[in-house]
């Protein structure tokens, strides 16, 4: 097992800096997921860790040793690529043995190690096939097998499930999590899919624009997003937002949004804020009668998922779309006018200018301890 530290890591292509001083610690045996939208720099970070991309500035430490200038093979890592990167002219056994052959491992030992890895991944029957004869899921297993057999300190995964269909992706997700528990190795996993991140990670690093926005456990990020980006990125459907100026009256603060001034409870700390964004998760918004709601909205669509219903609506006849999640089957027609109650005890308040989280309900802040 290995530890990994990134210290002020920067990466530039010509004069364009794409990674802007990233600091990150990955503990022994930890499953760390780097998640972010396309083009955020997460794969570049992984490739720098692997040694496939040079580091422009900063230090990369594996087990406390700076490895910036070490070639990939010296770093004790193995990588699983998005497109599997299996050598097409070699059989599965040859693919898995290739790295060991380069390390001059004795032939008998290679055979034993490949057989053992194949047993672990239940791919013994595929050992004599070539990659062209494998399905996507089988190829992925072989790619993982090729990584396992080298017994690396750190596993690197670059969006390994994105070429698989939805059902297989869920299956492989579970298998990878099991594999992590069984091997207990440090794993760094890159994905743009926040569901993968939430379900597999011990900790998640949310990357945006070449910077780490927040690092924490999945529920930590869900319940206590540090800023607007994390709040919007983590959670599906995404958090509903309403942004507007804050005005102070003798009755307390008001949020001016959707052409109305919504009273902000005294318990919500918006002191010193001129513009605020209030975020509420879809499962926390309540649909009520129009006269009982804080805002009224027109239902534009409802999606019946069987165990839950997603209601899409436009508050106060605006172009904005809010999503409300209700457990069970809830029937409401498009075009219906409803009231929506804002549960301030579930709200997140962000400074609209800086995007930083300013306040969140105590219930959310303490939920991780529950």
């Amino acid at each position: 097992m290995s530890t990994l530290q990134l210290r002020g890591i920067r990466k530039s292509f010509s004069n364009l800096e794409v990674i802007h001083g990233v600091d990150l610690d990955v503990d022994e045996g930890e499953f760390m997921v780097l998640v972010g939208p396309s083009g955020c720099g997460k794969s570049t970070m992984l490739r720098m860790i692997a040694g496939l991309e040079t580091i422009s500035n900063g230090e990369l430490l594996i087990n406390g040793t700076v490895v910036n200038d070490d070639p990939p093979v010296k770093r004790g890592i193995a990588m699983v690529f998005q497109n599997y990167a299996l050598y097409p002219n070699m059989t599965v056994r040859q693919n898995m043995a290739f790295g060991l052959q380069q390390a001059k491992v004795p032939r008998q030992e290679i055979r034993r190690m490949v057989d053992e890895a194949a047993r672990t991944l239940k791919i013994e029957q595929l050992l004599n096939r070539r990659p062209g004869q494998l399905s996507g899921g089988q190829s992925q297993r072989v790619a993982i097998g090729r990584a396992i057999v080298r017994n690396p300190g750190i596993f690197l995964f670059d969006e390994p499930l994105s070429n698989l269909d939805a059902e297989l992706r869920v299956h492989m997700r579970v298998e990878l999590s099991r594999l992590h528990s069984r091997l207990g190795k440090t794993m760094i996993y890159v994905t743009h899919d926040q569901v993968e991140a939430m379900t597999m990670a011990d900790r998640i690093a949310v990357i945006h624009g070449g910077r780490v926005e927040q690092v924490g456990s999945p529920l930590d990020l869900y319940n206590k997003p540090a800023n607007l980006f994390v709040a919007g990125f983590i959670g599906s459907p995404r958090m509903n937002m309403m942004a507007g100026p804050i005005t102070s009256t003798s009755d307390g603060a008001r949020l001016n949004v959707f052409s109305q001034a919504i009273p902000v409870p005294r318990s919500v700390n918006v002191a010193g804020l001129s513009e605020a964004t209030v975020g509420i998760r879809p499962e926390h918004l309540e649909v009520v009668d129009t006269e009982d709601g804080d805002v009224t909205a027109v239902v534009t669509l409802s999606e019946q998922l069987g165990d839950e219903t997603l209601i899409y609506c436009s508050p106060q006849d605006t172009e904005a779309t809010w999503v409300i999640k209700r457990l069970g089957q809830y029937f409401i027609k498009a075009g219906a006018r409803v009231g929506i109650r804002i549960p301030w005890n579930r709200a997140h308040v962000f400074d609209s200018q800086s995007g930083r989280a300013i306040w969140r309900a105590e219930k959310l802040a303490s939920s991780e301890r529950d």
Partner: protein
């Protein structure tokens, strides 16, 4: 009214018709005519056709010159395939690396330029360079103390000279094809190999060459077929000489047809060449299938 399928078929035929007419005039009809002529003795003056069965084939198979030209042709093929495909591959590997863009373009252009120049023109230039007394090459050889080499006049060297020109002329074409193939290898394969700790030699021999093997085999086949048909450069450089040292099968056919006026034996030689080309290509395809296995 015609069905959609019939209308589509008619449109398809109309589109291929121009190419097919050219094919008929310049390939199919001469091919069929060759089959016919190979069993006749033709008097071109009286336009008299006498059926002789397989006598024309007997004639060429017992003609030692025919076998000499076959031997010459296969020597030319083996050397030109090794030169064009082997050297082309080595140079493509050399060019397929991170070099400053201007240098890369200059190198690629300089290798490819001979491909664009007419073979007749190239042959005349090389004929001058290879000239025994006045040639530039022998001039420099004399300067460094090596005497004159009979590049085109010494029967043991002449075919080698022809091969040098062929490789010089055509290697750029193969370099471009190999470069395109090498650049088509997924980057992730190279990265996986680098994580596996493979050396440049191992990457080249165990990953890159097997990956582009179909292209290599195509080039070998292409060069082989081209070699079997070699004519124009030899015609200009040595006209088959000295003696028959550089005479190819195609030259034999031409001399039979147009110098000796034996259209029948020339056609028999042409058909024999066709059969040999087919056998060689079939062998290459079998080797390719065996070598490439299941992908």
């Amino acid at each position: 009214m015609a069905t959609l399928k019939a209308r589509e078929a008619r449109a398809g035929f109309l589109f291929v018709a121009p190419a097919y007419v050219l094919y008929l005039i310049f390939l199919a009809i001469p091919l069929v005519a060759s089959f016919g002529l190979s069993v006749f003795e033709v008097d071109r003056i009286r336009m008299d056709f006498e059926y002789v069965g397989l006598e024309n084939f007997d004639w060429i198979f017992t003609d030692p010159r025919f076998w000499t030209t076959f031997r010459n042709t296969f020597y030319f093929i083996s050397m030109s395939v090794i030169g064009n495909v082997g050297l082309g591959l080595v140079l493509a590997f050399a060019l397929n690396r991170v070099l400053p863009t201007p240098i890369l373009y200059v190198l690629r252009l300089s290798y490819f330029l001979p491909v664009l120049v007419s073979l007749a023109f190239v042959s005349f230039i090389w004929k001058f360079l290879f000239s025994t007394d006045l040639g530039a090459i022998n001039y420099y050889l004399r300067q460094v103390g090596i005497g004159n080499v009979g590049w085109l006049t010494d029967s043991s060297v002449a075919m080698f000279s022809v091969i040098i020109i062929d490789v010089w002329k055509n290697v750029g074409f193969f370099i471009i094809i190999f470069l395109a193939a090498l650049q088509g290898i997924p980057r992730s394969l190279m990265e996986a190999a680098s994580i596996d700790g493979a050396s440049s030699w191992v990457v080249a021999t165990r990953i890159k060459i097997p990956y582009i093997a179909p292209v290599i085999l195509f080039c070998a086949t292409y060069a082989t077929i081209g070699g079997l048909q070699v004519f124009d450069s030899i015609r200009i450089l040595t006209n088959g000489g000295p003696g028959d040292a550089t005479r190819s099968v195609v030259m034999y056919m031409v001399s039979e047809a147009f110098s000796a006026g034996q259209l029948g034996t020339a056609s028999a030689a042409a058909l024999t060449l066709l059969v040999v080309i087919s056998i060689v290509v079939a062998i290459q395809m079998i080797i390719a299938r065996w070598f490439l296995g299941e992908r």
